[in-house]
C-alpha cells in the first residue's frame, strides 16, 4: 500500500491529534490524555527524559571503587553508570552496539569489562568496544570487513555528573551545568540534605504503580492533598494545612519544594474541614514517631521534586531518593533508596528505619498515594477529552507561603507544555 498524500497512513492519528490541543490556554486545566496516550508517552521519553534534562541515577556511595557499576533507567531506557579504571564516572546505554541486547542484568556489581552474552562483544569501563569475536574470520572465512572500525561502535554515552554524592545523567551532551539547571533556591534545599557528608544506603523499596508517572510527580507538588488524604500525617501533626509552610519553585517551574514545620496533635478552627481528623488516636508504641531535629533550619518536612524523575524526601528523619521510572503511559516504577549519613549513630539509624514505616511500598502515609494514583488512573482513562481543574490558590504559578494551593502543579504544566510543545 502506498502512502497517498491525501490518505493518512494511520487515520486514527487524526482523532488523536485533534485531542492534543490543550483545552483552554491555561495551566489550571490538564487534559486527561496526557496520562493515557502512548504517543504522548513516546514524546515525553524523547523530549523530556532523553532531552535536555538531568535524570537522577544513583548515589556515589553505591559506586565505591574503580569497576563498580549500577544499572538503572533514564526514562524507559536502561543505562549503566560505572567508575572506570581511574575511578571517574561513566554512563552509557545498556544496549549492545551490535544487536541491541540489554547485556547487563545486574543491578549493582563490580567488573573489569562488559561482555554481551549474545556474540560476546566486549566493552571496557569507558564504554569503548574492545573485542569482537571472529573479527578476522575462522580458517580464512567470514569475519568483519577490513574497514570495520571498533572505535565507531562503542556504547552510546550519556553525560554524567555528581553533586555532593548524588549522581545525575543526561542523554543530551549539550545539557546545561547541573547547578545552573537546579537554580539558586533549589540548590539551597538540595544542599540542606546533601551537605557533603558521606551518605550511607539503608536499603531499597520498589513499587510498580499502575498509573502515569506524572501523577506521582504532581502528588509531591500538591500540598492541598497532604492535609486531607493523609490522615496519619494530619493526626500526628506531621503535615497540616494550618502549619507554617511554603511552596517554592525555580524560575522555570519544573522543580518544586514543599516545606513545612511540624505542629501538634490538636483540632483547631482550621482543621474542621478535615472530616477524618483523629484527635483520639494515640500510638501504643511512640518509638515509631520520635523525630529529632537534624538540619540547620526549622523545617521538619521538605519534599523536593527535581525535574524530571527525582523526589528527595525529608520527612522528619526519614530520608529517601524516590526515583520515577516510567514504563508506559499507564505504568511506572517508583524506586526508593533510603539513606542516612556515615556518621549517624545507632540510635539515629534505628530512628530512620522506624520512620520508614511511614514511607515505602507499605508506607502508613505513602501507601495512600500509590493507591490514589491507581484510582486516578482508573477514573480518568476512559475520559481523554475531559480535564483536571487546578484552581486552588488561584490560576497563577508563583511561590506561596501556605499549603492551600496547587500552584506548583500549574507551574509544572507550564514548563511541561513548553518542552512538549503542546
Amino acid at each position: 500500500m502506498s502512502a497517498d498524500a491525501d490518505t493518512p497512513m494511520k487515520p486514527w492519528l487524526t482523532t488523536q491529534t485533534s485531542r492534543k490541543a490543550w483545552p483552554i490556554d491555561e495551566h489550571s486545566r490538564v487534559p486527561y490524555w496526557v496520562y493515557t496516550d502512548e504517543d504522548v508517552f513516546a514524546r515525553e521519553m524523547a523530549r523530556i527524559f532523553c532531552g535536555r534534562s538531568w535524570s537522577y541515577v544513583g548515589l556515589a556511595v553505591e559506586l565505591p571503587e574503580p569497576g563498580s557499576f549500577l544499572t538503572t533507567t533514564v526514562g524507559n531506557r536502561s543505562v549503566i553508570i560505572c567508575r572506570n579504571r581511574e575511578g571517574a564516572l561513566r554512563a552509557f546505554a545498556n544496549r549492545c552496539a551490535h544487536r541491541g541486547v540489554k547485556f547487563c542484568r545486574q543491578r549493582l556489581g563490580t567488573t573489569k569489562r562488559f561482555t554481551c552474552p549474545y556474540h560476546q562483544w566486549t566493552y571496557d569501563l569507558d564504554g569503548d568496544l574492545k573485542g569482537v569475536p571472529f573479527r578476522a574470520g575462522v580458517k580464512g572465512q567470514g569475519g568483519m570487513p577490513e574497514d570495520f572500525d571498533l572505535t565507531a561502535h562503542g556504547l552510546q554515552p550519556l553525560k554524567v555528573t555528581e553533586h555532593h554524592g548524588v549522581l545525575f545523567a543526561s542523554f543530551d551532551q549539550g545539557v546545561e551545568n547541573f547547578l545552573d539547571y537546579l537554580g539558586e533556591t533549589n540548590r539551597y534545599y538540595f544542599e540542606r540534605v546533601f551537605d557533603g557528608r558521606q551518605l550511607k544506603v539503608l536499603g531499597y523499596s520498589r513499587q510498580l504503580i499502575p498509573g502515569n508517572w506524572k501523577l506521582m510527580f504532581e502528588n509531591i507538588k500538591d500540598p492541598y492533598h497532604a492535609s486531607l488524604l493523609h490522615v496519619f500525617l494530619v493526626t500526628f501533626g506531621l503535615f497540616r494545612a494550618d502549619q507554617e509552610a511554603q511552596v517554592k519553585m525555580d524560575d522555570t517551574g519544573r522543580h518544586g519544594l514543599l516545606i513545612s514545620r511540624r505542629g501538634t496533635q490538636q483540632a483547631t478552627e482550621h482543621t474542621q474541614d478535615i472530616a477524618n481528623l483523629r484527635t483520639d488516636f494515640k500510638l501504643r508504641d511512640p518509638r515509631l514517631l520520635d523525630p529529632v531535629k537534624e538540619f540547620k533550619d526549622s523545617a521538619t518536612v521538605v519534599m523536593h521534586t527535581v525535574w524530571p524523575n527525582l523526589i528527595v524526601q525529608q520527612q522528619s528523619n526519614t530520608l529517601a531518593m524516590r526515583q520515577i521510572q516510567p514504563r508506559a503511559a499507564g505504568s511506572f516504577e517508583l524506586s526508593w533508596t533510603f539513606f542516612g549519613f556515615a556518621d549517624d549513630d545507632e540510635a539515629m539509624t534505628l530512628r530512620r528505619l522506624r520512620q520508614a514505616n511511614l514511607m515505602s511500598a507499605s508506607g502508613l502515609v505513602s501507601g495512600d498515594d500509590s493507591e490514589i494514583i491507581k484510582l486516578a488512573q482508573d477514573g480518568l482513562t476512559p475520559y481523554p477529552d475531559k480535564a483536571a481543574v487546578l484552581e486552588m490558590g488561584g490560576r497563577e504559578t508563583h511561590d506561596e507561603d501556605h499549603m492551600v494551593t496547587e500552584t506548583a502543579i500549574r507551574a509544572f504544566y507550564k514548563y511541561y507544555r513548553e518542552v512538549m510543545e503542546l
Binding site: 488516636f281 500510638l283 502508613l364 493507591e371
Partner: protein, 158 residues
C-alpha cells in the same frame, strides 16, 4: 519422633491461624501471634542479600503491631481487598523445649474489587518462636519477599 510430630503439628496450627487472621479476620487477633517484645519485618530479598537493614514494614513490639492494625483500620486509604496466604515447606531448623527456629515459604494472592486474583508476594518466613503459657508465639518473624518490585502497595501484613 513423636515429640517432633507434635511440635510440627503445633506450629502448623499457629501458621494456619496466623494466615486466617490476615485473610479472614479478625485482623485484631494477628498481634496475639507474637510475644510482647517481638520483631516483625517485611523486607525485600535484595536488602537481605546486600546486608541492608531497611524493611518496608517494621514493628518492634506487639504494641507496634497493634498500631499498624489501627492505622489499617482508621487512617490509611486503600482499595478494599482480600488476601489469601499459602504457607508451605515448614521446616524446624533447631529447637529446645521452649524455643524454635523455623522457616516456611509463603505465596500471598491478592484480590482487588474489579480484578482477577494476582500474586502479591512470594518469599520465605524466617521465624523464631517461644512457648508462652502453653502456646507458641513469634519472637521474630522476617518476611523476606523475592521480587524487587511490589505490585502497587502492601497494605495488610504478610
Amino acid at each position: 519422633m513423636t515429640a517432633e510430630l507434635v511440635l510440627y503439628r503445633e506450629l502448623e496450627d499457629l501458621y494456619a491461624r496466623y494466615a486466617e487472621y490476615l485473610d479472614d479476620g479478625p485482623l485484631e487477633s494477628w498481634p496475639e501471634c507474637f510475644t510482647e517484645s517481638c520483631l516483625y519485618l517485611i523486607i525485600p530479598r535484595e536488602n537481605v542479600e546486600r546486608g541492608l537493614p531497611l524493611a518496608v514494614m517494621r514493628c518492634e513490639s506487639r504494641d507496634m503491631l497493634k498500631d499498624r492494625v489501627t492505622a489499617i483500620r482508621e487512617t490509611m486509604l486503600y482499595e478494599p481487598r482480600y488476601l489469601r496466604h499459602h504457607v508451605t515447606n515448614l521446616r524446624v531448623l533447631s529447637h529446645t523445649a521452649s524455643e524454635v527456629q523455623a522457616v516456611a515459604n509463603f505465596t500471598v494472592v491478592e484480590v482487588l474489587p474489579e480484578e482477577l486474583p494476582r500474586i502479591l508476594l512470594t518469599g520465605r518466613y524466617r521465624d523464631c518462636l517461644q512457648q508462652e503459657d502453653g502456646a507458641w508465639r513469634f519472637t521474630e518473624r522476617h518476611c523476606v519477599y523475592d521480587s524487587t518490585l511490589v505490585p502497587n502497595s502492601i497494605i495488610y501484613p504478610i
